[in-house]
Symmetry: C2
Subunit: 141 residues, 2 copies
DNA sequence: TTTCCTGCAAACTCTTTGCATATGG
DNA sequence: CCATATGCAAAGAGTTTGCAGGAAA
């Protein structure tokens, strides 16, 4: 349910560089929904020559490929997840921490407080897709 | 269901200036989920002396007061809504347009395509609230 | 040997902030 | 009066991009 990406045709002809492998390893080693800054720190420790721009570019490629999951956090830096399966995220208003919310079973909303001790006071939700006018090939909508 | 705000105690002692009224009028006149830039354009047409900073500050005050609804859009500028009741928003991947999705009745997710012609391919969702550790008064989580 | 990728730095978007001045209640 | 608001400009966070050189395939 999180961010569906067209992982197929956009990634033909992409290469596997050392830098890209470092970024992927960093995301896989960090299980706390790291920001690009945190990923950069890890990558930079392995190889101080890797630039921020390369980390950003590779996070884009890897999330297009479906090898990492991009989590756009409202009013905050994007976060990345080594888990690519469908799950919700919950952000604490106080500490800013981002938590996984499993979506197995029914009624995940009502179960959040019970199962995670997370008191939901609100959420930000935006669907992505194609609107009817665009689907019909009309110019602008 | 959208962005719960503590509209009460944060807004004591706020004033009603001409600029603030202009911002509120602009949001109420724009029914297309305007960005701050679009709101600024309208305000600026009424009074070219009003600065961007004032528009931003007043959008913050007005959404704290509950007079406008702030819609944080992932990877895009925040949008504002004259409607303050609970409803979802859907953003078209092609044209970037933001649409209202009513939440009355059950199973709004499954009804989106049928009722709005909007083909949902994914969505970005982040709950807000208080995590159990913060609720228990622990230092960091 | 061509196409993709990299590093660097600069640019870019959106938003916030410091400061001196103005103004609403 | 004086706390709140304002305008200006500058800073800030997060991210993207132009370019020349470098390295996968």
């Amino acid at each position: 349910m999180a961010q569906a990406s067209a992982a197929a045709c956009e990634t033909v002809g992409t290469r596997n560089t050392k830098q890209r492998a470092l970024v992927l390893d960093a995301v896989r080693s960090l299980h706390n929904h790291p920001t690009s800054a945190e990923i950069y720190e890890v990558v930079h420790q392995q190889n101080p020559n890797v630039s921020r721009a390369t980390v950003y570019r590779n996070l884009g490629v890897l999330s297009d490929r479906g090898e990492v999951l991009r989590i756009p956090v409202p009013n905050a830096a994007d976060r990345y997840d080594f888990r690519c399966d469908n799950h919700f995220h919950a952000k604490c208003e106080r500490c800013g921490g981002v938590f996984d919310i499993e979506t197995e079973g029914v009624d995940p909303f009502a179960r959040i407080t019970k199962d995670y001790g997370f008191q939901v006071t609100g959420f930000d939700l935006a669907f992505s897709g194609i609107c009817s006018q665009c689907a019909n090939g009309e110019a602008d909508c």
